[in-house]
């Protein structure tokens, strides 16, 4: 079985993240960029299946600028067997529509039984890319799984939705997105870091994938970007026994109760 894990480089949430005020694009220079944690959980789910099932191959795949190689190297050091990096200047400013189209083309070219990824990235947070990739490929999506079970023919799992917990199932090949409840990602060990350097990492352009970009394939335009004035601290009191009453009065005066 061949499992492709989609990974993404994102700005580190430990720091203040910036947008370019003119283009509305992420200011990649303003932050350290890291592997998105949610995709490392997706990778962990795939690696656990491989560890228990001989003959499973795990491929990490990303679409992103040259710097995103670091994310693939980390995936390889965690245990992925190989990696694919789609990198092309034409992708600058790609939106979700463009990204989903390119991801779909890339996984299709690589071939797979299962694609696993995070349910939403920490920067975009849209949570729609897995569904768009699935739709491009005409495949089922199992969205936001907390648990996942893979058999040679099927993938199944549990997802939490507004109404409750769903158990869902689909025939392979399929696309799966996982939540942060799915698995705790392993740390790369020393041996993993050493062997990662010898593992194959392919670099592909849009031409290699046969994707003809219409302006990168984007279908959204940023009109305006404005930075919210930092929230300012309001009243702060030290409790002397009357603070609770003051707060109740404040809530009433603010029509909050």
């Amino acid at each position: 079985m061949k499992i492709i894990v989609l990974v993404k480089q994102v700005p580190d949430t430990e720091e203040e993240r910036r947008l370019d005020p003119v283009t509305g694009l992420l200011d990649r220079g303003a932050n350290e960029c890291v592997a998105d944690e949610i995709n490392e959980r997706a990778l962990e789910v795939a690696l656990r299946h491989r560890d228990a099932n001989k003959g499973t191959e795990v491929v990490a795949l990303t679409v992103g600028p040259a710097s995103a190689t670091a994310v693939l190297r980390k995936a390889l050091s965690m245990g992925a067997d190989s990696a694919v990096h789609v990198v092309d200047d034409l992708l600058e400013g790609a939106d979700i529509a463009a990204t989903a189209r390119v991801l779909a083309a890339a996984v299709q070219q690589a071939g797979f039984d299962l694609v696993v990824t995070g349910n939403e990235s920490t920067d975009g947070r849209g949570g729609v890319v897995p569904a768009m990739v699935a739709e491009h490929l005409g495949l089922p999506l199992l969205s936001s799984l907390n648990t996942m079970e893979i058999t040679p023919e099927r993938v199944a799992g549990e997802a939490t939705v507004e109404a409750g917990n769903l158990t869902v199932s689909a025939l392979l090949p399929a696309i799966v997105s996982v939540t942060e409840r799915s698995a705790e990602a392993r740390f790369p060990n020393f041996k993993g870091i050493l062997t990662a350097k010898r593992k194959p990492l392919a670099t592909l352009s849009l031409e290699d994938l046969g994707v003809i970009p219409h302006g990168g394939g984007a279908n959204s335009t940023v009109l305006t970007v404005s930075e919210r004035p930092a929230r300012t601290a309001g009243k702060k009191i030290v409790d002397d026994g009357t603070a609770a009453k003051d707060l109740a009065d404040f809530l009433v005066a603010s029509r909050l109760i």
């Binding site: 729609v128 999506l141 409750g164 940023v222 404005s226 109740a248 109760i257």
Partner: protein, 324 residues
């Protein structure tokens, strides 16, 4: 004015869920609001007047035996069918696990453009739909539009609170042909126990959250007690979740749920940047923490430096005295 579709979510029993009001309100801001709802054969009639009360001008009732059995398939087909008939300028869906999949698939299938996790909408001078996004926990407000196809919007739950004026809607009923193909099947539904009776965290008007300062799972009950006194949902910081005080689906913040309530009360939460990213667009923030240097106070409209175990019981008492 052009038609704007709002995909209404239903529960396992077919009832309209809480996100409907915001979806129809958003559609009303962009054009003629059309509620699209997918039900089992003959079960949609009750929904019509309810959707009219929420402001729907027209209700597009799509009936399919596959709803509740397949993920997304019937809903995507319903939107495609409604779009062919009504030529909408925009389609609005909830930013939920299920509707995100429908939005992503519909956008690809219809050639539409996506605006995701939108907190507000408006109509541009040229008549096109504009989505307002709140990025990086509210640090930036970005307005965006799409270049071609219908504008497909996922609306952050709880972002729009003003309901549209009620209408007496007209109705179209269609029977959907859904090709099951290789769709994902739902093999079991376990409804959430409505035991707590509290509002859901996503979209709640008021939220009370607890952090590591609560000290233990037993003490976390205090958060629930204040939430009940305020009619609020219960949330938590990552620290409280990691410490096992409460389930992860209550986590507010960068990697949890983003909330934008009228009132957010932070109890024993220091206010790390990751937590603030999930709540700093709340209208009013109240913080109680014994550490006067806690960063949560930098964003609080009303901060109390004090012991939550002293202040909160007094506050609950004061609230109860008032309601009596």
């Amino acid at each position: 004015m052009t038609n704007v579709l709002a995909l209404i979510e239903t529960s396992a029993s077919g009832a309209i869920t809480g996100s409907a009001a915001g979806l129809i309100a958003a559609a009303s801001k962009l054009g003629v609001p059309v509620a699209v709802v997918v039900t089992q054969q003959g079960e949609g009639a009750a929904a019509v007047s309810e959707l009219g009360n929420l402001g729907a001008q027209h209700v597009y009732l799509a009936e399919s035996p596959e709803v509740g059995r397949l993920m997304a398939a019937a809903q995507v087909e319903a939107l495609m069918s409604a779009a062919r008939e009504l030529d909408p300028s925009a389609v609005i869906l909830a930013n939920s696990v299920e509707s995100r999949e429908i939005a992503g698939r519909f956008a690809v299938r219809s050639g539409g453009g996506l605006l995701v996790d939108v907190v507000d909408v408006r109509t541009a001078q040229d008549g096109s739909a504009v989505g307002v996004h709140s990025i990086f926990g509210g640090t930036y407000t970005v307005e965006a539009t799409v270049q071609s196809g219908p504008t497909v919007i996922t609306l952050r739950q709880g972002a729009l609170n003003e309901p549209a004026a009620s209408k007496v809607p007209s109705t179209t009923t269609v029977s959907l042909a859904v090709a099951a193909g290789n769709a994902t099947t739902i093999t079991m539904v376990q409804p959430v126990s409505s035991g707590s009776g509290r509002p859901a965290l996503r979209g709640a008007a008021a939220v009370v959250s607890g952090g590591r300062g609560l000290g233990s799972k037993q003490n976390f009950v205090l958060v629930e007690q204040l939430a009940d006194a305020l009619g609020a949902a219960v949330g938590a910081s990552r620290a409280a979740v990691d410490a096992g005080y409460i389930e992860q689906n209550s986590q507010v913040g960068q990697t949890g749920i983003t909330v934008s309530p009228q009132l957010y009360v932070a109890l024993g939460i220091s206010g790390a940047i990751q937590h603030r990213a999930g709540m700093q667009t709340a209208k009013t923030i109240v913080a109680i923490n014994k550490d006067e240097d806690a960063p949560i106070f930098e964003v609080a409209d009303f901060g109390i430096v004090g012991d939550v175990f002293t202040v909160v019981p007094q506050l609950i008492e004061a609230l109860q005295a008032r309601s009596n």
